[in-house]
């Protein structure tokens, strides 16, 4: 597998020599988009199966076992086909344009974020020099889509879930951004590849341990995973903002949620764990391994912790994480100006 990855990477580098320039630019864009879409779909299918297996074993069950014979590997593919064949129900009372646009906004913003994710030194669709800001800016539009879904559904549970989503994501975005500032100070760049390049010797998790912890907590809250999944708490809100969505429209919310989880994991890898740096294996493999370590962490937390209450979650963000993030920033600044 690693050989074929290296071959593809080589082809990717040699492509500008093989094609004339305007054609090359267009071909590169097309190939990058198709590769990213294929990656998102395959990654999500795998991640859902992975989560169900891990959570099964944590709860002393087996998880999916029959579909596709080997440990139920085809279970998520079967689920996807089932969702594809389901009737597209749009309830009567909904605010139709808002309801229809919501999954579209969420999914499209998630895809756009993948423009800057550096899978290895060269496997990046476009290394924008303000990459991190781009990620945060675009992914916060997804909040709007989620809120549209909740508002447009004309369902009490959906609206409650959507209100909570807005409050939660907006609150946790502040410590999330502040925790990342320490990395900017060390790396002196906002380009994702530049930040990975700067961690060649020492990963930033060792220089910014507090920032790393804040980032992971705020990141998990940002993608609405347990213990912060209050917006879609099954036991009180049915399914939160996507209660009224079914079939393919629901599938796209689901796809975007898992794709967003991967974005958070990939950013943690880039900012703190040295991205694609690593011995022996090619960069792409290291990147995926590190990112899936975070995916595993999220599943592990889901299997371990109970859900927080809304007021606990909000006060934890504003009264603990935010001061801690400021403190981290001040200490980093002090240390850097005197050393």
């Amino acid at each position: 597998m690693s050989v074929s990855v290296e071959f593809l990477e080589l082809l990717w580098i040699l492509l500008p020599e093989l094609l004339p320039s305007p054609l090359y630019a267009l071909a590169r864009l097309g190939v990058a988009f198709v590769a990213v879409m294929a990656f998102i779909v395959v990654m999500v299918l795998f991640a859902v199966w992975f989560e169900r297996k891990v959570i099964g074993h944590i709860q002393v069950r087996i998880g999916p076992l029959h579909t596709g014979r080997w440990h139920g590997w085809a279970q998520t593919i079967a689920d996807a086909i089932k969702l594809f064949l389901k009737e597209d129900i749009i309830p009567k009372g909904v605010d139709r344009p808002v309801y229809v646009l919501a999954p579209l906004v969420v999914f499209v913003t998630t895809v756009v974020v993948y423009v800057v994710i550096p899978f290895s030194r060269n496997l990046v669709a476009r290394d924008i020099n303000m990459g991190i800001l781009f990620v945060f800016a675009v992914s916060s539009i997804a909040t709007l889509g989620i809120f549209m879904g909740g508002w447009g559904s004309n369902n009490k549970y959906s609206l409650l879930g959507a209100m909570r989503v807005a409050a939660q994501i907006v609150s946790y975005e502040v410590p999330l951004l502040l925790s990342v500032l320490g990395v900017f100070m060390l790396a002196q760049t906002l380009s994702l590849n530049g930040i990975v390049e700067a961690q060649k010797g020492l990963w930033y998790v060792f220089l910014q341990p507090v920032g790393f912890v804040i980032y992971v907590i705020a990141g998990i809250a940002e993608v609405n995973r347990l213990p912060f999944d209050i917006p879609e708490a099954e036991s009180e809100l049915v399914a939160g903002f996507h209660t009224e969505y079914s079939g393919l429209r629901f599938a796209f919310f689901f796809l975007a949620e898992y794709a967003n989880m991967f974005v958070m994991s990939a950013l943690a890898t880039v900012l703190f764990l040295g991205g694609w740096h690593g011995p022996f294996l090619p960069g792409f493999v290291w990147f995926i391994l590190k990112a899936f370590f975070f995916m595993f962490l999220m599943v592990w937390l889901r299997g371990t912790y109970p859900r927080l209450r809304v007021d606990q979650m909000m006060s934890f963000c504003w009264k603990v994480l935010l001061p801690l993030a400021f403190l981290n920033l001040l200490v980093t600044g002090l240390v850097m100006s005197f050393i």
Partner: protein
């Protein structure tokens, strides 16, 4: 810069096309029978009572205001963080004053009970 925008736009359009194409393909094979109780919104199996577009609790606005203040502050902090190493102590002191003022604001909001969720 222009190419960055081209990439972002192309990915957005591509994602849109992917979604619409999937919905179109699905419409060829899935059943279509909008009828009866299927079209009501879910409310624990009961017939929904009234509209659900209600008023928001005032605390959402308070938190939204706090968010706007701190998010704009972060926008000021980002360029500062990137060039910090070249300027050093002067930049640190100036930003410490700026953050200090905002932290006093946070302490004030805290004291006033604006950060308390449960009323």
């Amino acid at each position: 810069m222009l190419l960055d925008l081209v990439y972002a736009t192309a990915f957005a359009l591509g994602g849109l096309a992917f979604l619409l194409f999937a919905l179109f393909l699905g419409s060829l094979v899935r059943p279509h029978d909008p009828s009866g109780r299927k079209l009501t919104t879910y409310e624990c199996g009961e017939v929904p009572v009234g509209q659900s577009w209600s008023q928001f609790n005032i605390r959402f606005y308070v938190f939204a205001l706090c968010f706007v203040i701190f998010d704009i502050e972060t926008i000021f902090l980002v360029p500062w963080a990137v060039v910090f190493k070249n300027i050093g102590l002067v930049a640190f002191v100036e930003m410490a004053v700026f953050i200090g003022v905002l932290l006093i604001g946070l302490a004030y909001a805290w004291r006033k009970g604006a950060l308390r969720w449960a009323l």
